[in-house]
Subunit: 383 residues, 2 copies
Amino acid sequence: MSYTYTINEAHRLMTTQLDVPNRLLLGPGPSNAHPRVLQAMSLPPIGHLDPRFIHLMNEIQELLRYAWQTENSLTIPVSGTGSAGMEAALANVIEPGDVVLIGINGYFGLRLADMAGRYGADVRIIQKPWGQIFSLAELEAAVAEHKPAVLALVHAETSTGARQPLEGVGELCRANHCLFLIDTVTSLGGVPLFLDEWQVDVAYSGTQKCLSCPPGLAPLTLGERAVQKLKNRRHKVANWYLDMSLISNYWGDSRTYHHTAPINMNYGLREALRLVAEEGMAERWARHQAIVELLWQGLAELGLHCHVEPEYRLPSLTTVRIPDGVDGKAVVGRLLNEFNIEIAGGLGELAGKVWRIGLMGYNSRPENVYRLLDGLKRILLGS
Amino acid sequence: MSYTYTINEAHRLMTTQLDVPNRLLLGPGPSNAHPRVLQAMSLPPIGHLDPRFIHLMNEIQELLRYAWQTENSLTIPVSGTGSAGMEAALANVIEPGDVVLIGINGYFGLRLADMAGRYGADVRIIQKPWGQIFSLAELEAAVAEHKPAVLALVHAETSTGARQPLEGVGELCRANHCLFLIDTVTSLGGVPLFLDEWQVDVAYSGTQKCLSCPPGLAPLTLGERAVQKLKNRRHKVANWYLDMSLISNYWGDSRTYHHTAPINMNYGLREALRLVAEEGMAERWARHQAIVELLWQGLAELGLHCHVEPEYRLPSLTTVRIPDGVDGKAVVGRLLNEFNIEIAGGLGELAGKVWRIGLMGYNSRPENVYRLLDGLKRILLGS
């Protein structure tokens, strides 16, 4: 071996062993990972074509179907974080010129619109103030007006804490030859979701919210109508890494190599989904609801007000109005630095107006609610 | 909380605690992770905007600059596996209609061409039989003929084991107003690389090869000429998740939220890069070379022949010709099942003709060479 150049040592940073603070992550995500998930992630990697890994892939697919309440064959984790799932969902079902109707009532609706435009969609939008939801009548009127090829809604808006009701929307879409696509990043594993009953054609999520696995994978599912559209595309999917017509061969029977899967992230997701199956969907959803009601009651006792109407509040994420005269950012900073608790401020329309508090998966437990309420009380009331 | 539907328990898979075999991963990747990397990955996640995570991001950037021997400011890990790095590299510097010249002498050259086409490039190719390399004269002639906006070459072809010499190519590109883009997936951290001396404008890699971190991140670096092209784009990058004009704000001074980074994967990459800095580039490259020479000598003693000329053989990946009359796939299967060693067969032109043996990062140690040679000897010679 020989080379002509001198090695530049300027960037040879000698730094310490990693030491991270023990944060209680009650913001919009990531939430704390379950210890069993972290343990699984630290097992040695095996090959992405190893028969043992193939078996694990099948288990993950099956467990995702349970969490999403779907029979969809094409149900897999995309090898990126939640936004990669969003992009995979759009990229695979949009062909240039397709009308894509997007409900924007928060930050992630805006993101859907930005992404859809990059895939050549004719993007149409309907809007609501952040924190409100769309009625079925409003959606019916918009579908009649725009005649979209795809309708995209955010089931759980992480930026606002609002839960978009989805009953009846699937039927509306089928009657109008439109695919129904939803964002379930902050609902999967914590908020009732019935993909097949709701006739959802495409959904995606993330691992770092109610599944209590670190970020790094994005569950994605395509129903039969979406798969048919994918199979009959006129153009290649305009994104190689997220092209489900290729990836489905790796996750399907032929196991054709596409890209190297993030092995240890898949170990973690499997364990996170095992925890979901052990608990059961009914029990898990009920737990999230019971625990968030503890939070809402405690906030009210501190004189704080939730931003979203009770009927449409997410159990996984609560937006709280910052009282007049309170420096919201300073409170976030004190919670982090003095109490080791992370919560977050608002985005977009809600920037400076709300705090965002997440109670997701492993974190949805009474002691976490009490610890946060205590911190807020000490900071806001000085006692 | 109420819902109308009955929960479907059909997919509620009750499965066992994860137990993975202790494979010696001597295929084309992933390689075995260093135990310190797995330990770092199992630490609890913190938020992607936490000041402590921001500090860790800076450390990773600095350590990547050392490993790549570059001063590039825009040097980050992309939140996906190696192929996401390839796509990020292309998507950010290609505008529709750009002539992109790609050297194809293996599988990953083909992949570059497929991806570049999806971003609207006018793809031109030069080809060599798999396992051979392009001479500077051949590249000069091709650049003169095609006048590309981007020239893309694979430094370390994982499918063939060939090392493409890069001296002089950067100068050629600058003289012809062309960006120089290289794939270093199987070279970063194991094979001499001098990005700045070679005047490389864009490079990407993966974590699961010579860095000995599980797959899940893809280091990417853009030099000043590439950043200028990105800043002056006429169209948005046709890929939201990989759009460096947005992501550079998160990794840059403003720290604007783009997507949630894979926190624990970044813990692992930091530790992997610390191990690189502790060892030093000169020592690391010399180790890879010394260890692979042990392998080559042992293979010769077994009567086996390497596919690539000695001068252009990669230290990180060796292709070995399968002798006439030997069932290559059966040998791979026996190594896995009887010896717990993973190696791989060939792809494309080399399918059925070669085995691929990787000695990468943590795995580049004499005992692994001896263990593999012993397994091969027992299978091929029956002793």
